[in-house]
Assembly symmetry: D2
Homo-oligomer: 367 residues x 4
């Protein structure tokens, strides 16, 4: 469905980097969910560029809720959130209209849109549109939290630096929610930022791996054969620009394990059924088993680098060199965290609402 | 959509391991595509268990095409393919009705289906249903081939053994199409099979990694924001039982690269726009760029192992030990290959037909 | 989605009149619903041709449930029902391959399928495929009945003969469930059948109007803006071959009413909110209001008539005369009743399950 | 999909009568289509209230295109159109919060949204949101016109007054495009307006029937079994507030015809295949046959009338009397015309793009 995602609870995105506004429409959200505008601002802030490790383009990200919220609560009808673009720099983008920036969508988009796409600042392919996604997702994150479903993401790896793994999920999530740079280990955090600044110095960029945990997901969610929970989450994650890999539990590490090592023994603990290990990341046969959902996303280094690069003019079909000037992120891994969290929330809420009905997401449900 | 996948060209799957029949419905297929029953049998055979490295359950996989094919050509209406189950062994499965086999869907399914699911032989979660998927996919593989789009998958890694990478894509694909055990290097092939037999000996199982290439995919295919080509392919792959990771191009390796290393320089070559490297796996910004599509799927070791394992009776909520007896695969990596190829074909055909219209898949189109 | 209908609980249809088999896949059905094969046979029988007023083609309609039902209950996974075609008469259909029978889909289908469609007996456009629909629908009708939602349809008009209107909905529904020819007034019933036989005598056919009531539908069902309950039901009804009009409540009669006549006053009655009249057919603003849902479908006279008719050979693009010989229905209004009931059940169940969750349809839900 | 409609080319609607803004997102529109803002204003004007026969609420309907249009052409990415609400009158709506206006969605919406919906001015159920629909539809109407597909709607009946039928489709469409009150016969036009004023005088309202023709629709469009062209169009039409009946060709009149009267004879005329009559409204078996598409929509009298009416307080569950004061339309038939035209355009464009591919809608396609 192109720019609409979900089956029961859906999000529709629109906007370009240098257009008038970007926005998101959430549909299928239960009535009666409190909407806290400060919380939306909080998630927008987690996504925003901060400091020397990010782009110099600073957007106010002032949003207006155009519909679907009344007296502070969701109405049950579509929630439209809109953010005007204000910090575009008017400059001559005409070279980019026909130059394929390596690693970027320019040429692929040209094959698709025949040169009509708005190329300024990456257009619809810009990370800018994820601001609207985060504003919408913040509402859902908050609704899930009221149902005791919590989501947290940290930078597991950035360049050559690794963070510690999750230790106490609940505590770690609480810490991450309030960190602009989501690493769990302070030394790793500093080393990662140094890595980013070093890359920036060299007019280069770095990639990394985000690791996400979801606590409180009930068992029985996921719709085989084709809408396994892994399918839905991976579908969502791979829509985020720059994500090139997604794995659940041991993921690619599974290749080197024996079945006797990979299987998670079931146990009864305090009357509840749990697994002794969680190599399967909380999902068996595409369905949640009640354990924490665990997955990782590989984020490629930002393709926008200021070094001279070889490329083509795709209209003239000629080789050329290109130097990209502008306000670019030497790393988007830390900023992508908010997008991963928000889109995870929307994806899981969609699955939960499909299973338990529209009203389930409301704090009133089940009372 | 649960057991239906795709938006323009769709597949619907049904069936259980020990039910009367399994089947697939293909809808949205152009009229006028030749249907070669031998070719369907060929792909069913690639998926079948062969020799000591696979389960002893040997199904005839005799299929009937119940609709949608007339005089040897697709009609344009739904193609229903049905395969009767014949080799079920009637035995007492009652223990499995309430035992959660570690690594299997039993307990997650119980949370979802409340004990009504057909538990015999894994029921709807059995790999058995992929036979119908392969029968359907074979028609699409063949139609894509007529449009010069070709798909090939090899076992990149099995346990600790690695295959060589793709060298000449076209030649390698031709070789793989006719190999029951899809490794490119003969020594690796032997070592992999030895690995499987060793695991079997220990009543254990092994996992691996499949690597797939798609040749001939035109640029401009993929529907951002949410239906990137990576999203669609990953959605499909993660619906296959046992797949726990999917990555494109360098995938998780992207985390350790700089932008200057990860970016693929565009070049004009013989009048065509290509990239000098293909770290992005033929996809930029979620859209194909005309280069070979390259992705890898991590397959976990088969959870059905004959060793004694700790688990629970999920109805009684009691710990117990379990020994699974029966006809199991010590490895499904090589058999999963056909499923990956067939589902890749269906996924790409759906995207292509959405872009170019229903008739495009027909060999008559564009004439 | 072409041959798949529904968003939460879906039906997929396949098959041609003279193909090997027709079938239906129901997906998204809650586990734990009892499946009574006699009840399926009952609804198949209501759809079957009986006596001189119908076609001479008598199909056994023996169905097999290939998946999704275990120990007499739905499993929660796809339910596949298949009916083999047995009473096809092998004759030379080659004239029909290029002749456009007036009022039939032949020429429109040629524009779409370019001559590859199976033309024998109408192929996929044959009313034959509705047998599979009824088999599937019978399961849902029964599940809704267990939730006290009941559906009944009578022939309001056939040619120039009108039936009495509904008087006591519950009683009328009970009567209709067991009538092969669903008229409420005995005299009207006889006059209608005489009308059919008179048309048959003249090698002609007659049309009519079906009127459907749904009792017990809870308020609050329907998804504006675009999935109003009227939209969903009309979408379903207009997929049935030969339906050319659908109206709710006063329907087209609304054009001649004033607002003060058309509005239904709300009243409190025995503690429940009801309307004094039901001109809106139980739906306001696209959402059920708790009153009986009431709608009518116009059925055109069967286009297959044995009189000589003017038409064209659409391949040769030449005028010609055509006499259709074979086993045709002089009227399908009474047979369409079962299809309307079954498809109404599926459509409403889909809306209800979307609203209240997957399990809602199970008799166990809410206990 | 609730507030999103379509499968290939989709529209998403949001907004409430007294919220900040209403809007529409069009997705799946080909790149390269010229966007003429004056033409959008023209269609907004056709929908606007004019003169004494309509509500006194006059909205400027100033729209902004927030995305998807660049340099005057569609980009191929989502087109977001937004219209701010400006003419809301701040008054005390609190009585309406719990009063069920007869014929309105208030009570049904309460069953669905549990009292959280924005009740001011009808909220999301207000005809107001159709302004956004018309703005979006105008772009598609214009694109279809460039492909020689034209749509026109007139008031066939209003209260007791009937317009003449279509005579010369192309000329009639041209006339209607520029008429605020879309009747073809001048005397009928005057009589209809008198009927509206008479109803208004009596604090009452009137309904009517709209008749639509589509010229230039190619044969072969429609997706049986479930997405017949009638299904798609009826689905769309029944989402418009106040539509209670939809019929194609002879529609309900089919009930009184014999097959020999209802069948349309095919003929070859100037080398093209046509039908001598068009009782089937250009659709056979759910697929267009190349003849003009013809359908009618029954519009109920506006439920908002100023007479005292019986109703209930649905929270207190008490009977009460209600007098609705405010700015209401005594008739919406003429204003609904623009909505019918615009939504017809979107629905057909969706079907065409599904059949012929994304680019087909562009004026460049096929060159």
């Amino acid at each position: 469905m192109k720019n609409t995602f979900g089956q029961h609870l859906t999000i529709t995105l629109y906007g370009e980097s240098h257009g008038r506004a970007i926005g998101a429409i959430l549909d299928g959200v239960a009535p009666g969910i409190p909407v806290d505008e400060e919380l939306i601002s909080h998630w927008l802030n987690l996504r925003k560029p901060h400091g020397a490790i990010s782009t110099a383009r600073k957007e106010a990200d002032e949003f207006s809720i155009d519909s679907g919220v009344f007296n502070g609560y969701t109405t049950g009808t579509p929630i439209a959130i809109r953010i005007e673009n204000r910090s575009q720099i008017s400059k001559d983008y005409s070279e980019l209209a026909t130059s394929a920036r390596p690693g970027h969508a320019d040429y692929a988009a040209y094959c698709k849109y025949h040169g009509y796409a708005d190329y300024r600042g990456g257009g619809h392919f810009s990370g800018r549109v994820t601001a609207a996604l985060c504003a919408a997702g913040a509402i859902i994150i908050s609704a899930l939290k009221a149902k005791e479903i919590r989501i947290g993401t940290h930078i597991k790896q950035l360049g050559c630096v690794c963070d510690r793994g999750f230790e106490n999920y609940a505590e770690d999530i609480s810490v991450l929610e309030n960190k602009l740079f989501p690493a769990l280990n302070t030394q790793a955090e500093e080393a990662m930022q140094a890595e980013i600044l070093a890359a920036k110095e060299k007019l280069d960029s770095v990639g990394g791996i985000l690791e996400t945990v979801v606590l409180g997901m009930p068992g029985g969610i996921g719709e085989p054969y084709f809408d396994s929970l892994e399918s839905s989450l991976a579908h969502a994650m791979f829509s985020i620009g720059g994500i090139k890999g997604v794995e659940f539990g041991e993921g690619f590490g599974m290749a080197g394990l024996l079945g006797s090592q990979a299987n998670d023994a079931f146990r009864v603990e305090n009357g509840a059924i749990v697994t002794a290990t969680n190599h399967n990341g909380g999902i068996n046969g595409g369905i949640s088993n009640g354990m924490p959902i665990l997955f990782r996303c590989a984020v490629k280094p930002t393709p926008s680098i200021a070094q001279k690069q070889q490329t083509v003019d795709f209209v003239a079909k000629e080789n050329k060199d290109l130097e990209i000037h502008g306000r670019h992120d030497p790393c988007i891994v830390h900023r992508a965290r908010a997008v991963v969290d928000c889109l995870t929330a929307i994806t899981l809420a969609d699955a939960l609402v499909g299973r338990f009905g529209t009203d389930w997401l409301s704090p009133e449900a089940g009372k």
